[in-house]
Amino acid sequence: MTTIPQGDRRISAETNDLSRLEAIASRIRNRVFEHVLANDGGYLSQAMSSADIFAALYGTVLKLGPVTGDTLPGDFSGVPGPANPHYRSGGRFNGERSAEGDVFLFSPAHYALVLYAALIEVGRLDSAALGEFNVDGSTMEMIGAEHSPGVETTTGSLAQALSQACGIALARKMRAESGRTWVFMSDGEFQEGQTWEALAFASFHGLSGLRAVVDANGQQCDGPMVDVCNVEPLKQRIEAFGCRAVEVDGHDIAALVSAMNDPVEVPLVVVARTNPAHTLPVSKEHAPGHYLRFKSPDERARYEAFYTDRMVTI
């Protein structure tokens, strides 16, 4: 039985107040929920599992510069290449880079709606942007691309961000920069061999500035990860690769913040244990799947009722 440390409820003034972060998480969930209803489906469970992680990251942990340029997503301006001088990276929503500041890579690109909602809640993205979600010609793509707000690497093919983060962290180590290099990941990515190659590399090269945060919701396309191809025990496996793994309740924001700020001098992986049905009135076992498609008018009505109830509660 794994013990899950409790976060410091007396979260300090420096790391901001807990209620503000909890409110961010709650609003992220509501925005995504509202959007899933309006679009007759979507990646709802990812918002339920990861909203607290995003609130911790964007709400207090990440040291990011202000957004460069306006906070509107802008239209798709073509793919990167020698023939396209107009290309704009979505990384600008994470702000101007500095030696002391952080870099944030977003790995599971299908969490894009959660990321967009988080950017809106911390004032990095205009709330009108959600109206362009999955609209032809918009950068607000369903699976986040390099031009999508908050995204700066191509990671829709899973498990590629951690290696890129290793390269960035290595470059920053060579330049003796103090800023950290973060990756938000999903636990499904630990089925890919590349993730383990990257952890071995990070550990061997002493990339102490590298920090991954994993939404361990135990769920993937085909169903529960334990039935598809188990990757547990994640903490022990990661530590066997020479990295530090901290396991926390992924819905305890104070615990998340303190785990993310662990002063450890080796690559850190925060394994956030989450529930894909968190804040929904259904059990974890009956959580909406990888991608929620309403199978019947009844199911849709049930989710509409969930939504109405939570708005009344708020």
Partner: protein, 335 residues
């Protein structure tokens, strides 16, 4: 003909001295890719990735995003076969300045099917944003770094190692997108790249002696493809064009020439010599070149087919031919 031993070793070290942004990434094939001395000269710029190419390409992407210029050195097969998704998504899509230096092109190695890069040009040509070059002799190995230096995007270098003939004079370095005109004649145009060029030079000498006018063009830039020398050479051939490549005939040089011809409606036949939809196996380079029809003899036979003549050139005629470094006929004309 001069044989140069391991020209990449010292050339790359000297070239890197004034370029602190240059890094080398290696996946446990450091000496095999002739960067052992480079590692010992610039240990702080050498990144050992272990046998983990997918991660190595991602690391290269991250380093390139930070302003370094990573030179990945490994066997070509491990770049484009083992880690293609990473190559395409982490490096090529964002158009990052990563140099992918792939060794053991085609059948130059007795290492067999696992080590022989026979479809790399096809795959790299099909990859958007990728520039694709191939070295054909010692002079090109020594000058390819300069030739690609200003390409602000990924470049795949099909590299030679070990004992390499010098076919082109030192004062005629490789230039991106600039083919070399090695001989002129109006009957047949032969277009080659990489190690196939030496074979074709041998054949061209014998063909010329037999009275066949051969225009021979050496290509070192597969993508972007096409230049004035190539265009003229293709259009002047009375009987048609023959391509010879150390690669499958699908997607490589023969395909590029065929596409060039069809795109422009040039009414000429293109015969493609190379590996015909087959893998090879572990054996010596001369043995495999003969077995798969990549040698000078195969080329003379193709000329016979194209011109509908019998020339009576045999293996012993070709073996006796002595090759000297040839100045590009085009450059001589331009001067």
């Amino acid at each position: 003909m001069e044989l140069v031993s391991r020209p990449h070793v010292d050339n790359f070290i000297e070239w890197s001295r004034s370029r602190p942004e240059v890094l080398v990434l290696s996946a446990d094939l450091t000496n095999s890719c002739e960067v052992g001395a480079w590692r010992d000269t610039f240990p702080e710029r050498f990144v050992t990735a272990g046998m983990a190419e997918q991660n190595m390409l991602g690391v290269a992407a991250g380093l390139a995003r930070e302003g370094f210029v990573p030179f990945v050195h490994t066997f070509a097969v491990f770049i484009y076969r083992r880690a293609y998704d990473q190559l395409a998504m982490s490096i090529a899509y964002p158009n990052l300045k990563v140099r992918l230096v792939g060794f053991l092109p085609g059948i130059v190695t007795p290492g067999g099917v696992t080590h022989q890069a026979i479809e790399d040009i096809a795959i790299m040509r099909a990859t958007p944003n990728m520039t694709v070059v191939e070295t054909g002799d010692a002079t090109e190995v020594e000058s390819v770094l300069d030739a690609i230096e200003h390409v602000d995007g990924p470049v795949y270098v099909r590299m030679l190692r070990g004992e390499i003939p010098r076919l082109f004079p030192v004062d005629e370095p490789m230039q991106l997108g600039q083919s070399r005109l090695l001989s002129e004649g109006d009957d047949v145009t032969v277009i080659t790249a990489g190690i196939a060029t030496e074979e074709a030079m041998r054949a061209a000498t014998a063909l010329s002696a037999a009275g066949v006018g051969v225009t021979h063009v050496h290509v070192n830039t597969h993508k972007p493809f096409g230049d004035e020398i190539l265009d003229d050479a293709i259009r002047r051939a009375r009987h048609g064009v023959i391509t010879l490549e150390n690669h499958v005939v699908t997607g490589g040089l023969g395909s590029a020439v065929s596409e060039y011809v069809t795109d422009r409606g040039i009414g000429t036949r293109v015969m493609r010599l190379g590996l015909i939809d087959t893998y090879a196996h572990g054996a010596s380079k001369p043995y495999l070149m003969h077995e798969y029809g990549l040698d000078a003899l195969a080329l003379t036979r193709a000329v016979e087919t194209l011109t509908n003549t019998t020339l009576g050139i045999d293996q012993s005629d070709l073996a006796e031919i002595r090759l000297d470094a040839v100045h590009s006929a085009a450059k001589a004309e331009a001067l």
